[in-house]
Amino acid sequence: MKHSFLDQYSDRDSFGHRLDPRVKFLLVLLFILCVVLTPPGSWTGFALYFGLIAGLILISRLPPGYVIKRSLLVVPFVLLIAVFVPFFKEGEPVASYSIWAWQVTVTKEGLQVLGNILVKAWLSMLGLVWLTATTKITNLLHALEKLHLPGVMVMIMAFMYRYIFVIVDETMRMRQARDSRNFGGSRMRQLRTVGNMIGTLFIRSYERSERVYTAMVSRGFDGQSRTLDRLRLRKSDAFFGISVGVFLVLTCVASLTFFY
């Protein structure tokens, strides 16, 4: 089976794709930090952030439709959490409704907070989509290692990337096997089958982990993860990283002082 949806478009070639993954990772981290620190209501600041990330997406030749679709994925979750804010935040009422016996009031301040949360979440997602759509996961993992993230964490992520599809395939095969023998039955019984499947999957994964560990030990693994360095920081990477970083910090500082 082919699976590429994790880092789709990352095998293309563009300025954004050729950037050093360490620079990209740090930039996106800084981008999210700046976006989060920008005070609510400083729309000039948000517009500048949007201009920057849109520019990055354009020079990386990513299809805008794909980027927007992916970035909107998170919105329902944010909405679910933030949708009640306009009703509870104290302030100038904008509208009020009566539902049965309750009088519900939407406030201007509340709406602003909601808008602020949505914009920040969406901008952060755009940054992450840009990162994953221009960087192969293997390179990203390597970058994290070079940035001295704890080796165990990088290894866990590497195993996740390697085995997620193996486990997805295994689940699908189990489901096919169940469906070929499933002739209805009560809801309770079907739930029990699902429970058994999850249990089986866990045990199989556990046993697989033992076999994988044996294979690692057979080739001299002693708990220390080692890889060859294959990243080289070019001048253009450093230059680009520094200029975008300065732009981000300036925008954030300006938002905190002038635009607010």
Partner: protein, 241 residues
């Protein structure tokens, strides 16, 4: 001839009480290609795990003239390449390069030497150019070849393979057999694939219920229909003469 592996009175019981190996005796000489055949559950895979010390019992197994113990394990594992049956267990890295380089890096080779070893190993299994691919995008035949490359990159003196041809289509099986035949190292192959045994292994060890039943020339063993039936390797009983 130099005795490269020697097993004396090896018995092994898993922690849950199943005794899988019962007083195994066998020896392998340098340059031999030995097949280990036997029905499911005969103890083949358990025996293979003793050859590089994943499982070890006091002094019953000697590899390359050394007793297996905590001090010799690392050295011996670098010289005995063990290829597991399921390539999804053997290939655990995000890219083919990382996987083939895993052993050499752990052996402490320099970056340039690691690159050379990876290149040579991939070339010898005919998989040059696959370095940056992810294992989950490969076919089973390709995965099995890469799995062999992951141990070849350590230039082992002994190659131990567990079911190298299982689940492969006949053409991939044939090309893997030719590939193995061209590798000039000592090989021990546990398998159900009697065609493979006949093609590349001059010597065969038959195991059943944790014991060595027969150990001898492949042709003689594979022509003994009665023996194959008795040890679960033939689908039908030979017609009584």
């Amino acid at each position: 001839m130099e005795e490269i592996i020697s097993v004396k009175d090896l018995s092994f019981t898993y922690p849950d009480g199943r005794q899988v190996l019962k007083k195994i005796n066998m020896a392998v000489e340098r340059g031999e290609t030995v097949a280990i055949i036997g029905p499911n559950g005969a103890g083949k895979s358990t025996l293979l795990l003793h050859f590089n010390g994943i499982l070890h019992t006091n002094g019953a197994v000697r590899v390359l003239g050394q007793k297996l113990n905590e001090d010799t394990l690392r050295g011996i594992r670098a010289r005995v390449g063990l290829v597991f049956q399921n390539p999804d267990d053997q290939l655990f890295s995000p890219t083919v390069f990382d996987d083939v380089a895993f052993g050499p890096i752990n052996m402490g080779l320099s970056a340039a030497a690691v690159r050379r070893a990876v290149e040579a190993a991939l070339a010898s299994v005919g998989m040059t150019g696959y370095e940056q691919r992810s294992p989950h995008h490969l076919s089973l035949g390709e995965k099995k070849r890469i799995a062999v490359a992951t141990v070849l990159s350590m230039s082992p003196e002994i190659l131990v393979l567990d079911e190298p041809t299982s689940n492969l289509d006949p053409r991939s099986r044939g090309s893997l057999a030719r590939l193995l035949n061209n590798l000039a190292v000592t090989k021990i192959i546990a398998t159900h694939d009697l065609e493979l045994v006949r093609a590349i292994c001059p010597r065969t060890v038959v195991m059943d219920e944790g014991r060595v039943v027969v150990d001898g020339a492949t042709g003689r063993i594979l022509d003994d229909a009665q023996l194959l039936w008795a040890s679960g390797l033939a689908a039908e009983e030979a017609a009584a003469l």
